[in-house]
Symmetry: C2
Subunit: 164 residues, 2 copies
Amino acid sequence: MEKKNCHNELVSFEERDHEALMGVWWTGILLKKRAKHFFSNFLSSEVQFNIMMVLKYAAKPLTQSELGEQLLVDKSNITGLLDRMEKSGLIRRLSVPDDRRCYHIELTGTGRKILEKVEQPYRDHVKKLMSVFSPNEIDDINRYMSRLEKAVAAEESTAFNDRS
Amino acid sequence: MEKKNCHNELVSFEERDHEALMGVWWTGILLKKRAKHFFSNFLSSEVQFNIMMVLKYAAKPLTQSELGEQLLVDKSNITGLLDRMEKSGLIRRLSVPDDRRCYHIELTGTGRKILEKVEQPYRDHVKKLMSVFSPNEIDDINRYMSRLEKAVAAEESTAFNDRS
DNA sequence: TATAATTAGTTTGTATGTAAACTAATTAGC
DNA sequence: GCTAATTAGTTTACATACAAACTAATTATA
């Protein structure tokens, strides 16, 4: 069995719609694995890269909560993530004068330097990867993913419960 | 900022192709979160559900390695995963007569019962979720994800290395 | 058949991820 | 202004994830 197609036969569903769902899921996992490996010489994960990119391009200083919202990272996860990044000198926590509950997170010089090294190669890599699609297909993917995200969000937080 | 669109503005890329890539990534993350929550009353994660489905529909008994290959789960990860599932009575490790290095993994009665409870609701849920797409669109998604997976696989294990 | 290479699985160390309970600080409502 | 509710972040406990080093068993090969 070819690894790249394994989701197609994963659970013996015949339905094309399940196949599509698994396709998105699986491709997402693959992208995460690839990204993690791509950054591995400079950062412990692709999540750290994302955090640094958000910090670099943010219009205003961000708190931990704001960072977490943008990246879908839980607040209890952000704490440890920033702890490690602070320890490796990538970011700094600045106390906020008006509100002693929160911090503004800031890239350090070291953080900026590392980001400068990896940002362009990353952009190039993405461009190359996505060059297998035509502009129209890119638009399709954008629309489809947007709709799927909305559908997921609409189903809200339904958990399966046994009521038999 | 709307959460569902956050990847669009994530890193201030203007490029639609990066947007598409992030769309797949983000949607994958969302699906994983949703699935985890969906199963939370019966299983500790969606990964355990996937393992059980693979075991249920496998044509032949599977070893840990074979399970890992199908699910893109690292062998060092499989060990702990099956340890926990064995402890909670979902699966069993059977020794293989011909090869004392490996085990055949098998669903227990309890495992089968739990799977029976969640499988159909899961299928229904997927159907409902994907009903926002027409059959043609479903096919599009299948083709696009398949091509993207191939492209990722083709780039192979390139890690960014500083050679300046 | 003795040795080398490979394979299956485990262990260790570290990172990411969630939920729930918690503290401290701020805001809302009266 | 006092109390209740909310918000920001941390902590704890647990599950998932990967890399590298490891053991034991099997297979290749000389």
